[in-house]
């Protein structure tokens, strides 16, 4: 499949469904477990990743002709860490209130495989516009996956959503907010999406 022949909406859909970072490609599972104990955390992490993914994709696509294929990974890492640091510093300086909420997540993004995957698999061989839409798709797919995982975990593990108590009567399952619960949730959701795919969507694509 030549990356430049897919239309933009197809790219977004692919990032969210067919090539969903968490449920399909099973990469970046580390943040998917570490920061999804509450819905707020999952959402903010997803937004931060979406932004960095789009910026990195655009940058890599813009400079793809200058990158020697043998050393593309060190250059990708430079671009990723550069964008993460720029985002971190400028938010700390000019968006203090937002930084108080999101500062913890931004620095973690440097090590995310999902960003590197976007750069390596798509942006390094595609145009800037296509890479922008691919970044939106991948980032949105990651964001949606994190929102689903963190929603399940917060609801079952604390009985709340966004801090609002919903399951007041039941005793929450503490294991769900601990890392072990993260593995359980991601595994079960991955299974669920595979099951839906096999049962209802097979043959469509």
């Amino acid at each position: 499949m030549a990356p430049n022949t897919i239309n933009n909406w197809e790219l977004i859909r692919r990032g969210i469904i067919d090539e969903n970072t968490i449920f399909r490609l099973a990469i970046s599972l580390c943040p998917a477990i570490a920061v999804t104990s509450t819905l707020k955390n999952g959402f903010l992490m997803g937004v931060a990743v979406l932004f960095v993914q789009v910026m990195v994709n655009i940058t890599i696509a813009a400079m793809k002709n200058f990158i020697h294929p043998r050393i593309r990974l060190p250059i990708f890492m430079m671009v990723i860490s550069g964008w993460v640091t720029i985002t971190d510093m400028s938010m700390a300086a000019f968006a203090q209130e937002a930084y108080k909420q999101m500062g913890l997540y931004i620095q973690l993004i440097v090590a995310f495989a999902s960003i590197l995957a976007g750069a390596e698999m798509f942006a390094s061989k595609s145009s800037i516009v296509k890479s922008f839409f691919d970044g939106i798709g991948r980032g949105a797919g990651f964001l949606i996956a994190l929102v689903i995982i963190s929603g399940c975990r917060e609801l079952l593990g604390k009985g709340t959503l966004l801090g609002i108590t919903l399951l007041g009567g039941a005793k929450p399952l503490l294991i769900m907010v601990l890392p072990a619960g993260g593995f359980l949730t991601v595994g079960l959701l991955m299974g669920l999406f595979n099951w839906i795919d096999v049962r209802y969507l097979k043959g469509r694509a």
Partner: protein
């Protein structure tokens, strides 16, 4: 195959990219760091006023060192009589040094604590900012700065999944700060009486 020309190209490619990246980041740092520094100072001043609302005058007494960092300590007065102390402190957490402000009364019991900054794990360690955790410190003495993994009125209950962060705030930052305060201000008071004699 890689020939000599490729080696030169690869080297140039890496050098140029990294120099451009480095220069961009350095420029960004030069541009933002004064603002970040000012923000941190402003944040500390706001936190100082918030942590001791009963005081009408807060005065810096001096600096002290913890974990190789410089921290300040203050005296709080109301109608020019002593109503407590505020100490800045650091605790070694799971993934960062937790920057804490502690308000103590004249008997060196905690009045309030405030978390100024940290980089603990989101969702686990960052619960040190939650009010239920911080409220536990009120009216507790140095000897009660101990983390317990069960509900307790006597000591401080750990955050589940974040015992290290809880300990850092309690047994490291707060305990050391209270001990330092007791040591220093008692010494100062003694010196004062000696001078008067």
């Amino acid at each position: 195959m890689i020939g000599p020309r490729d080696i030169v190209k690869i080297t140039l490619n890496l050098v140029v990219t990294y120099i451009i990246g480095g220069v961009l980041l350095a420029a960004m740092y030069a541009f933002t760091s004064p603002v970040i520094y000012k923000n941190a100072i402003k944040g500390k001043r706001v936190a100082l006023e918030k942590i001791m609302p009963e005081a009408d005058h807060i005065e810096k007494l001096g600096d002290w060192a913890i974990h190789d960092r410089t921290a300040e300590y203050f005296i709080a007065k109301k109608d020019s009589s002593l109503c407590g102390y505020i100490v800045e402190s650091y605790g070694k957490g799971y993934s960062s040094y937790i920057h804490v402000l502690i308000a103590a009364d004249t008997a060196f019991r905690v009045k309030r604590i405030s978390i100024l900054s940290h980089a603990e794990t989101p969702g686990l360690g960052d619960e040190i900012e939650a009010s239920w955790f911080k409220k536990q410190f009120t009216k507790k003495s140095t000897a009660q700065m101990k983390v317990i993994k069960a509900p307790t009125d006597e000591y401080i209950q750990a955050i589940s999944g974040a015992t290290i962060s809880s300990r850092a705030v309690t047994e490291d930052a707060a305990k050391n700060a209270l001990e330092f305060l007791a040591r220093t201000t008692k010494g100062k008071a003694d010196n004062g009486t000696e001078h008067n004699q």
